[in-house]
Point group: C2
Chain length 305, copies 2
C-alpha cells in the first residue's frame, strides 16, 4: 500500500439546495478528496486554514487516517464559499467567495512527504500545482484536476503543469476550452498529446469516461433515487480514484478501470448528504454493498450474434 499526497482547498461552505441548507460546513476540494482517498490508503493532506478553523474538523480528518501536518493554520479566515443549486443540480451558483488565507496559499512539502508516490493536485492555480510537483521527488503517478477559471486566465501555466502529469480529470466543457475540440473523443486525444497519457472525462449523472493509451472505458454513474447536495462530487471521485490506485501501489489498465468505478461509487454517497456528511460516515461495508448493486446494474452480458 502506498501513500497519497493531496493538495487543494480546505473551506467552510454555505450550501443551499432544493433539499435544505447548511451554513459554514467543512468543505473544499482537499477535504472531499482526502476523505474519499482515505477509504483505501493513508493520506497526507496539504492545505491552509484560518484561525477560525475548528479543532473538531481537524480531529474528524485525523480519525479517517488523514495526516494534516501539512495543513497550515494562518492568521485570518478559512476560505469561504457560499453557493446554491436549483433543480438542475449539475449547476452550482456562487453567491459569495471569501478567499481568506487561501489567497496566500503557498504549499510547502517537507521531509519524507516529498517522496510520496501518488499525488493529487486539486483544482488550484496551476503555478501552485507546478510548485508542488517541483518539490516532489520522482512521484509515481500525478493526477491533476482543474477548472474553467484556470483554463481561461492561466492557460500557459496550466499547459506547463499538464506536461508533468500522468492523468487529467476534466469535464466536457473544460476539455473543449483546453483543446478547442468540440468532439469529446477528439478532445480527449488532443489532451493526451498535451501531457497526461490518461484522461478522465467526468460526465456527472452519465458517469465517467477514461481514455488510456489505445483504449477507452466508460463507467456509468450509480443510479440514485435521490441527490441532496452535489457539492464535492468531483473531488470525491478524484480522491477515491487515486486512493484506490495507491492501495495497490501500481498502475495498469485493469486497476485504472477499477479505480474509476471506485470514484463513481464513493461520489454516489457524497451527493446523498449535505457537505461531507455521508462521505465522512462511509465505511467499507456500505461501499461493498453498493458495489454489488452497481455490478448488477452495469455489467454487460456477452452478445451472441
Amino acid at each position: 500500500m502506498s501513500e497519497v499526497l493531496i493538495v487543494g482547498s480546505v473551506a467552510y461552505d454555505g450550501l443551499k439546495t432544493p433539499y435544505g441548507s447548511l451554513e459554514r460546513t467543512l468543505g473544499g476540494a482537499a477535504t472531499y478528496s482526502s476523505l474519499a482517498a482515505s477509504l483505501f490508503a493513508p493520506v497526507k493532506m496539504v492545505g491552509v486554514v484560518g484561525d477560525d478553523f475548528k479543532d473538531a474538523d481537524l480531529k474528524m480528518l485525523g480519525r479517517h487516517g488523514i495526516n494534516t501536518e501539512l495543513v497550515t493554520k494562518e492568521k485570518g479566515k478559512t476560505f469561504y464559499w457560499k453557493g446554491y443549486y436549483e433543480n438542475d443540480m449539475a449547476v452550482a451558483h456562487t453567491v459569495k467567495i471569501d478567499l481568506g488565507v487561501f489567497e496566500r496559499f503557498n504549499p510547502r512539502i517537507t521531509g519524507r512527504s516529498r517522496n510520496i508516490p501518488f499525488v493529487f493536485l486539486a483544482a488550484i492555480h496551476p503555478d501552485l500545482q507546478l510548485n508542488v510537483l517541483q518539490q516532489m521527488i520522482k512521484p509515481k503517478f500525478v493526477v491533476l484536476d482543474t477548472r474553467d477559471l484556470w483554463i481561461n486566465i492561466t492557460k500557459p501555466a496550466l499547459i506547463k503543469v499538464l506536461k508533468k502529469t500522468d492523468l487529467a480529470v476534466v469535464n466536457d466543457q473544460e476539455i473543449r476550452l483546453l483543446t478547442g475540440e468540440m468532439h469529446l473523443l477528439k478532445g480527449a486525444r488532443a489532451l493526451q498529446k498535451m501531457g497526461p497519457k490518461i484522461v478522465i472525462v467526468k460526465k456527472g449523472e452519465h458517469g465517467a469516461m477514461m481514455f488510456g493509451p489505445g483504449w477507452t472505458f466508460l463507467s456509468p454513474a450509480v443510479p440514485l433515487d435521490y441527490v441532496v447536495d452535489p457539492t464535492g462530487a468531483g473531488d470525491t471521485f478524484a480522491g477515491a480514484f487515486i486512493g484506490y490506485l495507491a492501495k495497490y501501489g501500481k498502475i495498469n489498465e485493469q486497476l485504472l478501470k477499477q479505480a474509476v468505478i471506485a470514484g463513481n461509487l464513493v461520489a454516489s454517497f457524497t451527493v446523498q448528504g449535505f457537505g461531507t456528511k455521508t462521505i465522512s460516515a462511509l465505511n467499507k461495508a456500505k461501499l461493498k454493498k453498493r458495489a454489488g448493486e452497481y455490478h448488477k446494474f452495469a455489467s454487460i452480458p456477452k452478445l451472441k450474434i
Copy 2:
C-alpha cells in the same frame, strides 16, 4: 427463431446535417426498425406508401428478408419529412412534413400475420397502435414507441395502449410528459405502473437505461469518432432490440440486457451514414467486430474493497 411484426411510417426524407445532405431518401420508423430487426429475425413490415414509391426500395427491403406484403401502395404521395440538424445533432429541426397517404394509414393485419409473437409499434397515433394490437392473436411481446406529440394531444388513447404493452421505449422528456415525474428513476417506476413491466429510456449519446421488475440496467452508447446523420437512431435501436429477442423467441433478464446492447450497437452504425446507407449495408461480421470493441469499452471489472 420467431418472427417480428413492425408497424410504422415508411417515408422519403430530405436530410441535412453539418456533414452533407440527401434528398428523398428512404426513411421512416418502420424502415429503420425493420432493417435493424432483420439482422436477427424475419420481419413482417406493416405500412403504407404512395404511388411514387420506388420498386428499388421495396426490393432492397426484400433482400434483407423483410416481408413487405402488408405495406400497401395507395394513390398519392409517400410520407415526406424534411429536416436538418445543427452541431447539436440531438435535436432535429423539421422544415416540412407532407403526410401524403400516411394521413389515411389504416393498418390491416391479415391471415397468419395475426399470430406473429413479437410486435413493435413504432411512434404512430395510439389509436392505430391499439387497432393493430386488437387484430393480433395473443402476441407474446409488444414493444411500443411514442413521441411527445402523441403524449401531448392523445394521452388518453396512449394510456389505453400502454396497458396492453410489455415494454415502452421513451426518452427523458417523454417520460416526464407521461408521468409528471422530473426524476428519471421515479418516472420509470411510474410508467411501469401504467402497463409496461419493462421501460427503456433512450439517453442518446449516453446510452440506454432499462427498468425491469426489480432490476435496472445501463448500456452505454458506443463511443463514436464521427456521427454524420442521427436520423433513425431510435427506430434502429428498437428494431434491433426486438429482433434480437425474436431470434431467441423468449424473454428473460439476460436476453433483455443483451437486446439493449444489440440496439445500441446497431444504432451506432445507422448514425455513421446518411439515411439508411450504413444500416442497409450492415452485416454480422461488422456487427461482431463492433461488439468486441464495445465489450472492451463497457465491461466493468470487479472491485476489491
